[in-house]
């Protein structure tokens, strides 16, 4: 369940309120998702400025609501299972979901945001 109590962030950053409201609306429609994936948010919230979306996501970490972990995109575009606190910890070869190993620098390393438990 993704938390949506973004009020602290909104009250501290009045300029970001429209973006926070758009993100909150998105999260409420995807409450059963386990993570916020910036790639998906970017595609779904096309009208939101990419930098402001980034600032809001970082803000969710700052207020302690979400934490950021790194995951690796597989060649087919889905995220592999492994999670890393630091992208420098990612091994040179990682398995996709079918256990085929690939080099993560040939695809992408993606920060995703998970609720703080």
């Amino acid at each position: 369940m993704l938390p949506t109590n973004f009020d602290t962030l909104a009250s501290d950053n009045s300029d970001l309120r429209p973006v926070i409201a758009r993100l909150k609306e998105w999260v409420e429609r995807h409450a059963d998702w386990s993570v916020l994936d910036p790639r998906i948010l970017s595609k779904d919230l096309r009208d939101v400025d990419p930098f402001l979306l980034t600032v809001v996501l970082r803000g969710l970490v700052r207020i302690g609501l979400y934490r950021r972990v790194y995951m690796v995109e597989t060649p087919s575009g889905v995220l592999a299972d492994g999670e890393y606190d630091d992208p420098r910890e990612i091994p040179d070869r990682v398995p996709d979901r079918a256990y085929h190993y690939f080099n993560p620098t040939e695809t992408d390393v993606v920060p995703v945001y998970k609720p703080v438990r």
Partner: protein, 172 residues
């Protein structure tokens, strides 16, 4: 560094990690984190979107309930493409079945999820080269799809029309 950024292209991930490391080394942790997220957001917005338009009766509800499966199927349709007749028939079949499952008034939400999970798996297998496909799993999944769809008579008819294109694509 600026010259490297200009020349990024396919090495973008490698370069991004180098910059991240450099920023961390200088104690600029938040800047490093912002860079990584900003790049993910920008890269996704720059990527060519799949030219796939579904005809869902209620698109917001469909995406809210089955967004993951629909997203995976869309990615597979894009990857498979339509360069030859076999791929074109397969892509059309997968898209038609996905639409029909989501729009079905006869299937329960759970049955829809099961059917879309199966179609999503079929899509992912189609992305793989033939020698890497999990044929031992794929065949039973394909055989199970008409059973999952049997709760909806229109879907069974649709499977009879489009199922053969899917089977043909995989060489079954």
């Amino acid at each position: 560094m600026e010259a490297q950024i200009d020349a990024a292209g396919a090495d973008r991930t490698k370069l991004k990690l180098q910059i991240y490391t450099e920023l961390q080394r200088k104690g600029l942790t938040e800047e490093a984190e912002t860079l990584m997220t900003f790049d993910a957001v920008v890269r996704a917005s720059m990527n060519k979107q799949p030219n796939i338009t579904y005809n869902f009766h209620n698109s917001p509800i469909a995406m809210a309930n089955f967004g993951t499966q629909i997203g995976n199927i869309s990615a597979s349709l894009t990857a498979v493409g339509s360069n030859d007749q076999r791929s074109k028939d397969f892509s059309n079949a997968l898209k038609q079945l996905t639409e029909a499952v989501v729009n079905s008034a006869e299937l329960t939400e759970q049955q829809k999820k099961e059917a879309l999970d199966a179609l999503s798996f079929v899509g992912k297998q189609a992305e793989e080269p033939p020698e890497k496909r999990q044929t031992g799993v794929l065949k039973p999944v394909l055989e199970a799809i008409p059973k999952v769809l049997s709760a909806g008579s229109a879907l069974v008819t649709l499977w009879h029309t489009f199922g053969p294109h899917i089977m043909t694509f995989f060489g079954f």
